[in-house]
Amino acid sequence: MNKIGLPIAVGCFALVPFFAGDFYINLGSQMMIAAIFALSLNLLAGYGGLTTLGHAAFLGLSAYFVAWLTTRLGLSHATAALLSIVGTTICAALFGLIALRASGLGFLMITLALSQVLWGLAYRWVSVTNGDNGMTGVTRPMPFGFSIESASAFYWFALTVTTIAFAMIAIFVTSAFGASLKGTRDQSRRMAALGYNVWLIRWITFIYAGFWAGVAGILYVYYNKYIHPSSLSITSSAEGLLGVIAGGSGTLVGPVVGSILVTFLKNYVSSYIDRWNMLLGFVFMFIVIMMPNGIVPGVRRLARHFKGTHR
C-alpha cells in the first residue's frame, strides 16, 4: 500500500460507523484488533521466516497486565497501559532469548511450549488470574478526555491505533533494517558472511513483534472488558497465523485482509453453529494445501497478469 492508498483506506474505514449498525461496528473493532495482532505476527512469520505458534502469549499477557493492574491495584489507565506494554516487551525479549536459540521447526516448538506455559499459568495461578473464571471489571479508558464507551467511538479509537500500528510496521519492514530482516529469512548464512548479526536482527524483530502484540492485547481487553486464559491459547495463536497465511505472509496488506476474513468467519459461523475449532482446522488445512501463498499475492499476480496482457 503506497502513500495515497493508506489515507484513502483509513478514510473509508472511518466512515463505516455512519451507515452500519452496532453489530457491524463492533465486528469492525474486533477485526482491527485481530489485524494489529496479525501484522505483528507477520513480522516474524512473514518477513523473518520464523513461524511462531506462541504469539498470542503476548496479546494475552498484556491484556492480563492491564486487567490486573487496573482492577487489583487500582492504577490509572495510562499507568497500567504503560506498565503493561513495558512488561510485555520485556517478556518478549526474554522469550526471544530462549526461542531464538533455534530457528525453523525448533523455534516453532519452543514458542509453542513457552506460550503454553503462560496459558497454564493463567489457568492455574488462580490467586492472581482468577483461573478459568477470567478477570472481569475492566473499564475502558478516556483517551484525551473522550469517552470510548459507545461502539462507534471505540471503533474510531481502534482505527487510530491500527493506523499507527500499520504505519509503524510498514516503516519497519521497508527500512534498511527490514531489508536485512528479509535477508536473514532468505539467505541467513550469506547474511552472516556479509557481517550482519543474524541473531540480533531476529531478536530485535521478535521484541518489536511482541510490542505490537501487546498493543493488540490492550485493545483486546478494553474491547471485551474481560480476559480469559483461552486468549493465550494455541487456538488464539493459530487464528492469528491463519490470518497471516490466508492473506499472504510477507506482505503488508495480507495480514489485514486475512484477519478481517478470519474474524468475519469466526463471528458469522459462531452465530449459526458453535463448531468454530473444527472449522478453523478445516480452513487451516485448506489454505495451507490449496493456496499456500495467500490471497493478496494471488490477487496481485492476477493484476500483474492483466496489466501484462493490456500492454
Binding site: T51, L53, I98, R101, A102, G104, L105, G106, L108, M109, I110, L112, A113, L114, Q116, V117, G120, L121, R124, W125, V126, S127, S233, I234, T235, A238, L241, I245, R275, N277, M278, L280, G281, F282, V283, F284, M285, V288, I289, P292
Partner: protein, 290 residues
C-alpha cells in the same frame, strides 16, 4: 509421613514419565526422521484414550491391554492415512506440514468433543491391579507400578527395533542422511509411513494406558502436547534415549512442582528446558539442532 510423601510422589513421577515417554518417543522419531513436528500427536493420545474408554465400556470381554493394542492399531491407521495422503503432498514444505497437523489436531479435538461430550470418561483400572501393593511397609497403587513396567518394556522394544533390526538400521540411516539412504536404494517414503504409524500407534496405546490415571477428557490433547514438546526439546530430536531421560526429568519436575508449589508448577516445568536450551540448543542427546 514425610518419607511416604517423597516415595509416593516419586512413584507418581515415574508413572507420568512412562506415559510421557510413550507420547514423546513417537514424536521424536517422527521429527528426527521426517523433519515434521507432528502437532497432532497430543490429539492421537487423546483419541487413543477415547477409543479405549469406549471399547472398555461397550464390550465387557475386552481388558485394558487388548483395548490399548486395539486403539493403538486404530490410531496408527489414522496416522498412516494422514502421512500418506496429506503430509506427503506437502513434501518439502515443513512449515505447511506443521500447520496441517495443527489444523487436524483442532478437527480431532472438536470431533471428540462432539462425539464423547464434555464430561470426562473414566477408564477403569483392571480389577486384578486394584488392590495396592505393599512394598517395604508402604502401600503403592499397583497400576502405576505396572504402567512404569509397560513404559520400560516399550522403551526396550523400541530400542531393540531401532538398534537390532534391519528396519531399525534403515530408520537410523534415514535420520542421519535421508538423501544418502535413498541413494543406496532404500524406499524412504515407505519408511516414513512405517515410522509415522509406529509413533501414532504408541501414542494411541499410551492414551489408553494413561486412562486409569488421567481418564479421557476434552483438552487432554492440549495438556499432553506441550509436555511432549518440552520433553523432545530437552532430550534432543530423533533420540530415543533423549526422549526417555527427558520424560522422567519433566515428570519429576512437574509432579514435585505441583505438589510443592501448585500455583507455579507450570513455570517450574520449563526451567529444565531453558537451562538445556541455553547450553545445548540441540538438546541433551541431540546431534542436530532442531
Amino acid at each position: 509421613m514425610q518419607t511416604h510423601f517423597w516415595i509416593i510422589q516419586s512413584l507418581n513421577s515415574l508413572a507420568l514419565g512412562g506415559l510421557l515417554f510413550l507420547l514423546a518417543s513417537g514424536f521424536s522419531l517422527i521429527f528426527g526422521l521426517m523433519r515434521i513436528a507432528n502437532l497432532t500427536h497430543g490429539a492421537f493420545f487423546m483419541l487413543g484414550a477415547y477409543f479405549g474408554a469406549t471399547a472398555l465400556r461397550s464390550f465387557s470381554w475386552i481388558n485394558l491391554w487388548a483395548a490399548a493394542i486395539g486403539s493403538g492399531a486404530l490410531v496408527a491407521l489414522i496416522g498412516g492415512l494422514l502421512e500418506r495422503f496429506v503430509l506427503r503432498k506437502l513434501g518439502n514444505n515443513p512449515q505447511g506440514q506443521v500447520l496441517v497437523t495443527l489444523g487436524l489436531s483442532f478437527i480431532i479435538s472438536d470431533a471428540c468433543l462432539v462425539t464423547w461430550g464434555g464430561d470426562p470418561i473414566p477408564v477403569p483400572t483392571p480389577r486384578m491391579l486394584q488392590p495396592p501393593t505393599i512394598l517395604f511397609g508402604y502401600a503403592f497403587p499397583t497400576y502405576r507400578l505396572v504402567l512404569i513396567g509397560c513404559a520400560v518394556v516399550v522403551a526396550i522394544a523400541l530400542y531393540l527395533l531401532l538398534e537390532r533390526t534391519r528396519l531399525g538400521a534403515m530408520i537410523r540411516a534415514g535420520v542421519d542422511d535421508a538423501q544418502m539412504t535413498r541413494a543406496v536404494g532404500i524406499r524412504i517414503s515407505r519408511l516414513f509411513t512405517v515410522v509415522f504409524c509406529l509413533g501414532a500407534g504408541v501414542a494411541g496405546a499410551g492414551g489408553v494406558l494413561g486412562g486409569p490415571i488421567l481418564s479421557a477428557y476434552p483438552g487432554l490433547d492440549g495438556d499432553m502436547l506441550p509436555l511432549a514438546l518440552i520433553v523432545v526439546i530437552l532430550g534432543g530430536v530423533g533420540s530415543l534415549g533423549g526422549a526417555f531421560l527427558g520424560s522422567f526429568l519433566i515428570s519429576f519436575t512437574y509432579t514435585f512442582g505441583s505438589a510443592l508449589l501448585p500455583d507455579l508448577a507450570y513455570v517450574i516445568l520449563f526451567l529444565p528446558m531453558i537451562i538445556v536450551i541455553a547450553f545445548r540448543p540441540q538438546g541433551l542427546f541431540g546431534r542436530q539442532s532442531a
